[in-house]
């Protein structure tokens, strides 16, 4: 089909033809077209079906406020549902599908819903489908969901990339219409760093859509000239295709730039869109205004649209839904559109004006004090039914009807900080209220200054004000002569009578009757009205419907509009792809990965890795003969107890604590005493939270009088450091203490087992004999002929063990050196699974036991909370509730049958009696198979557990339905005297 409804002129490049597909049919258009304009050019008015009633719909607007012409753009994984045809920029090969129909768009079988409209009023699902109850989930809801709704997701991974970015400017100008351009021009000439963002791909705003706005030149030309000058300014950044979606704290705005949507396919490696965070010192909201409609029966047929859209399609895109159009208006702008259409060669069937003093025209017939009562045309407008001022009814044939009920300032961004717009009675509009986001000024039509002269002038005022606050002197600019017509409007929201349904919110199929029903049923508060009827809750957020809905509610309630109030404006201004919010942080890039210094070495050895926070840690090191992980872990754990093993423990948090008050500081932070720890010694310690619960455990090593190294668990490395900084800065600011995280600075390895000393003796340059370097010793040493290192004789496994640390660049070399040195002892690298087995065998707590609810008493470490000194959490650790006689104690359990597996999370119950929460006696925190004991074992918290060794209990798991009879034993399964680690 040729472009039968293409008019003359317009801002399209006719020299190039683009081909595109809508519902599989091939059409043509030109660069500069949107999908909507190109379809209209090809004579296509029907573009979709409505949400609930499956009514035929076409474009209602020409911009981002569009409620009706929603399509699924592109195919396959790139298919994006609910895309507005009015903003989708045409490209060659574009494919689009209409939505929400069964069968073809033209013959939608679900259109039966429209016949059932009387049963499908607002909130019908609150009152029907009540029984049988079981049918709701399985029958009713799926049925309703299938018959209603818009587009569907492809359910495929989005193949495109999205970036995030950060911009800074003196002045952000939102909107590049007349007001925004004037502001940007003045600010740019005055030397400010300016960002000018506009959602459209062509800057100029209403200059592109209307004629006669400037008296001495074409507005399009002025806009183009201004944009060209702005483009040449180094400090001005022009961002077309960029929607500012929200105003946030401290002058920060969110904006989505559509980088390559208009290219069809995103070039490799380039983002499809960028979500910008714009930091502005000042902002100017020049978002313009959206025309509002008038509700009348069957006002939703394809071909009926906002008058401004009809004008924009004709002026900018040189298209029309029909060669014969009518206008229904209550203000002068409808008349201007009629004149524009006439100039484009479109026949004007008449201008129906609700005002009795409507201006007359010599070029077209004006019906004053008249109303459009109804329309006809199954798939598109054919005629309108009009009642003139004398009460005479007539039918007027036309294929397009432009409706103008006045203009609503686009106040959205001005309200994102909770500000409410205020009603301006003179203009009959909501304008921005006094509470604006920090640094924002609203200008032009967005502020209710509707004439072009006013828009330009307010742009200059806004820029001058902003520049003044930025300390810049405003340069003079010459503004073009512009029309300055006053707003001539008589509010008129809907045509009365009972002719049929009159749509307010076309996207959610909300009618005047629905609002009336909501009122009858008591949903009168504006937020209740919104939720009961779903008015304004669709993807367009009610840009063309909210104010009319409020006005009609006010009329029904016999109130003034300000009394009804307005709903809350929230970001985003227009829908944003979830991918834009995610940016690059998806899949494997969801978060950064931390690698240990021995990672590459471990990988070479075939280690299996596991995520521990952001760390990738070696879980175990399988050999070729091992067929399951248990074999590997058993071998590794046995090797440590019988010979020697090595494990990378770099991930443990490390904090250097220095200063003349370092000891006093740690004495406060740790529950146990640190003050008298001798230089060269290490002490195990626990830290409490302020509420007395254990925060973390670890060691403090005193390397010098004023220098400690504190270790934390891997998981708590950051929280403990943050806690210590809080204590330092806020609780003890007078102390001379400095903290520095050194977790990453040192590659640290545990060398554990009876042969560990022999291995390290080959590497460490100093004497490691038990006398020279006893249990809990620490020292700065050197390794392999002089490299600085730190050595700690501490043990998590319960064996003779050391932790040796070198500057991280040497970590890879050191692990290889340790393996060489341990070869004769069959040194075994072990991962965190074996580490877990070894520590459970010793009853050492870790994150499973330090679970945020446990006290030192629970852990059997109650005596570590020193009574001789103060510490953080000391007072609240003595709360009665934390010190009851039946408090939980950490104990060990063994199954009567050693081969029976125990599971962490199971609960301990008496052998007989009821199994429920009220009979709960404790729970298992950690469980494993102990190859040394040849039995499954576990650590658990048990009420009064310390006094119940030898008792038999049931371990039950309601989840796995397992029940195991267990014996309560000491948590120290291996070497309870601790003699091995002192040898």
């Amino acid at each position: 089909m040729s472009q039968i409804n293409r008019l003359k002129d317009g801002q399209i490049e006719r020299s190039e033809t683009l081909h595109f597909y809508f519902d599989g049919k091939r059409y043509s258009g030109h660069p500069g077209d949107t999908l909507a304009s190109a379809l209209l050019a090809n004579g296509v008015r029907l573009m979709g079906r409505s949400f609930k009633y499956h009514r035929p719909r076409g474009p209602f607007s020409s911009g981002s406020e569009e409620p009706n012409a929603l399509v699924t753009l592109r195919d396959g994984a790139r298919a994006e549902p609910n895309t507005r045809a009015t903003t989708a920029e045409l490209f060659d090969g574009l494919t689009a599908r209409s939505q929400n129909h069964v069968g073809s768009l033209r013959f939608d079988m679900m259109a039966i819903n429209d016949r059932l409209a009387r049963f499908l009023t607002a909130g019908f699902y609150y009152k029907t489908f009540m029984w049988p109850a079981a049918f709701w989930e399985k029958l009713y809801e799926p049925l309703i969901r299938r018959s209603a709704g818009l587009g569907a997701l492809s359910a495929l991974d989005d193949p495109d990339a999205y970036d995030k970015g950060f911009l800074h400017c003196d002045l952000l100008v939102v909107g590049a219409g007349p007001a925004g351009l004037a502001t940007a021009l003045l600010a740019g000439r005055s030397g400010a760093e300016v960002i000018l963002a506009d959602e459209d791909f062509r800057l100029g705003g209403r200059f592109n859509a209307e004629t006669g706005l400037l008296t001495e030149e074409n507005g399009v030309d002025w806009a183009a000239r201004t944009v060209a000058e702005l483009t040449s300014m180094e400090k001005v950044r022009i961002m077309p295709r960029t929607t500012v979606i929200g105003a946030f704290d401290h002058g920060i705005f969110g904006a989505v730039e559509r980088v390559s949507d208009h290219l069809g396919k995103t070039p490799a490696d380039r983002p499809r869109q960028i979500l910008w965070r714009i930091h502005s010192k000042r902002s100017i909201l020049a978002a313009g205004a959206t025309e509002r409609s008038i509700a009348f029966a069957n006002n939703d047929r394809p071909g009926i649209m906002l008058a401004s859209a009809l004008g924009a399609f004709a002026n900018r895109w040189a298209v029309t839904p029909s060669r014969r159009a009518a206008i229904f208006t209550n203000n002068d702008s409808g008349h201007r559109v009629a004149a524009d259409l006439l100039a484009k060669g479109i026949g004007i069937a008449g201008v129906i004006d609700t005002r009795d003093d409507a201006p007359v025209s010599k070029d077209f017939e004006v019906f004053a004090d008249a109303q459009v009562l109804d329309t006809s045309g199954r798939h598109g407008l054919r005629s309108i039914k009009v009642r003139d001022g004398s009460g005479k009814l007539m039918s007027i044939e036309c294929g397009a009807l432009g409706v103008s009920g006045g203009w609503n300032p686009n106040v959205h961004l001005s309200c994102h900080h909770g500000g409410k717009p205020v009603w301006n009675d003179e203009l009959s509009v909501f304008v921005p209220g006094p509470k604006l986001p920090q640094g924002m000024t609203v200008i032009g039509a967005a502020a209710g200054r509707f004439s072009t002269h006013e828009a330009l002038a307010s742009g200059v005022e806004g820029a001058t004000d902003a520049l003044g606050s930025l300390g810049l002197k405003a340069q003079a600019i010459d503004l073009p002569e512009a029309e300055d017509a006053p707003v001539e409007i008589t509010p008129f929201w809907h045509v009365g009578g009972d002719a049929g349904r009159a749509w307010i919110d076309q996207q959610n199929d909300v009618t005047v009757k629905d609002i009336s029903l909501a009122y009858q049923e008591g949903f009168r508060a504006v937020e209740h009205l919104k939720r009961y009827t779903t008015l304004g809750m669709a993807t367009d957020q009610g840009k063309t419907s909210n104010v009319a809905g409020l006005a009609i509610m006010a009329e029904i309630a016999r109130k003034e509009i300000p009394e009804v109030g307005s709903t809350v404006y929230r970001p985003p201004y227009t829908p944003v792809a979830i991918g834009a919010f995610a940016g690059r942080a998806r899949g494997k890039d969801f978060r950064p990965t931390r690698l240990t210094p021995s990672h590459d070495w471990a990988k070479e050895r075939g280690a299996v890795f596991v995520e521990a926070g952001n760390w990738m840690r070696a879980q175990y090191f399988p050999t070729s003969s091992e067929t399951n992980w248990r074999q590997t872990v058993d071998r590794e754990a046995l090797a440590v107890r019988t010979s020697v093993g090595v494990c990378d423990v770099t991930t443990l948090g490390k904090v250097d604590v220095q200063g003349s008050d370092a000891a006093e500081f740690l004495n406060l932070v740790y529950a146990n005493g640190v003050l008298k720890l001798r230089v060269g010694k290490t002490r195990y310690g626990i830290m409490l939270r302020e509420d007395g619960i254990v925060m973390d455990d670890g060691t403090a090593a005193r390397l010098a009088e004023t220098h400690f190294v504190v270790t934390t668990t891997t998981a708590n490395a950051v929280p403990v450091y943050r806690h210590m900084e809080f204590v330092r800065q806020c609780l003890c600011p007078a102390m001379d203490v400095q903290l520095m995280s050194t977790t990453e600075a040192w590659a640290q390895f545990t060398v554990a087992g009876p042969r560990s000393r022999e291995v390290l003796a080959k590497i460490v340059d100093q004497d490691l004999s038990n006398g020279a370097f006893p249990f809990m010793a620490c020292a700065n040493v050197t390794v392999s002929g002089g490299l600085r290192a730190r050595l700690f004789r501490i043990s998590f496994s319960g064996e003779l063990a050391y932790e040796i640390a070198v500057p991280t660049p040497y970590g890879d070399a050191l692990i290889r050196r340790i393996m060489e040195a341990g070869e004769e002892f069959q040194i075994t690298p072990y991962g965190i699974e074996a580490l877990g087995v070894l520590r459970i065998e010793k009853g050492h707590p870790t994150g499973n036991e330090l679970n945020g609810t446990t006290t030192a008493l629970n852990l059997g470490l109650g005596r570590m909370v020193s009574r001789k000194k103060d510490c953080i959490g000391k007072v609240l650790s003595r709360r009665e509730g934390l010190n009851t006689l039946d408090a939980l104690n950490l104990i060990g359990i063994r199954p009567l049958d050693p081969e029976t597996e125990l599971r962490a999370g199971g609960h301990l119950m008496a052998l007989g009696g009821t199994v429920d929460a009220s009979h709960d006696q404790g729970y298992v925190t950690s469980a494993c198979y102990s190859p040394n004991l040849r039995s499954h074992i576990a650590l658990a918290y048990l009420k009064s557990g310390g006094d119940r060794l030898g008792e038999h209990l049931r371990l039950v798991s309601p989840l796995t339905r397992e029940t195991v009879e267990v014996e309560v034993v000491s948590p120290h399964f291996v070497d309870p005297e601790g003699s091995r680690l002192r040898e």
């Binding site: 970036d163 970015g165 760093e193 950064p592 003349s660 001379d736 400095q738 002089g786």
Partner: protein, 182 residues
């Protein structure tokens, strides 16, 4: 001298992607210095003597002795182009003695140099620093790809990033993705 050989976080990778060159700066030693109580004046004097001035917030100072970067109130990160074999921290500690708490940082960080005419475009996609209005020598602590980093602007077309060594490969991945996306 030890026969253990150091390994940099990214094995000295050096790559040009489009107009952006990314290079790991190797053989760089780092140490953090925090003035102790009543020793601020002495530390400031030492910094002035060594680097020419005391770096203030968001600042750095460079001299033949290296670069000093402001990290916090009376805290600085010092860097020097010298391999990790050299005990830089020990050296500084000897000079400042009990006037400052000195901590070796060489192994904590990876340093990546970013150069190219589109440096500002790249950083606008990476982090929230005002790259276009920053002056050479200015520094910022910021977040890149969820990682805490320092960015030191060397010129309008060159900057150095200090990021955590353990996540150096993730940082590199983020930088290369951004360079390709420009």
């Amino acid at each position: 001298m030890s026969d253990l050989r150091p390994r940099s976080a990214l094995d000295g990778v050096d790559d040009v992607i489009g107009t952006i060159r990314l290079r790991e700066v190797t053989n760089i030693s780092l140490v953090s210095v925090a003035a102790r109580r009543n020793s601020q004046d002495r530390c400031h004097a030492w910094l002035r003597m060594t680097f020419g001035a005391v770096p203030g917030p968001n600042g750095s100072e460079s001299s033949v002795a290296g670069t000093a970067l402001w990290m916090g109130p009376d805290q600085w990160m010092l860097s020097r182009q010298i391999g990790p074999d050299f005990d830089y921290a020990g050296n500084i500690k000897t000079e400042l003695d009990e006037a400052a708490s000195v901590t070796e940082q060489t192994g904590s960080w990876v340093m990546i140099e970013v150069t190219g005419d589109r440096l500002a475009d790249a950083f606008e996609r990476l982090c929230a620093i005002p790259i276009r209005t920053m002056q050479p020598g200015e520094a910022r602590r910021t977040q890149i790809n969820h990682q805490s980093c320092f960015v030191v602007l060397e010129s309008k077309s060159a900057a150095r990033i200090l990021g955590a060594r353990s996540s150096a490969r993730s940082l590199w991945h983020a930088l290369t993705m951004t360079a390709r996306a420009l």
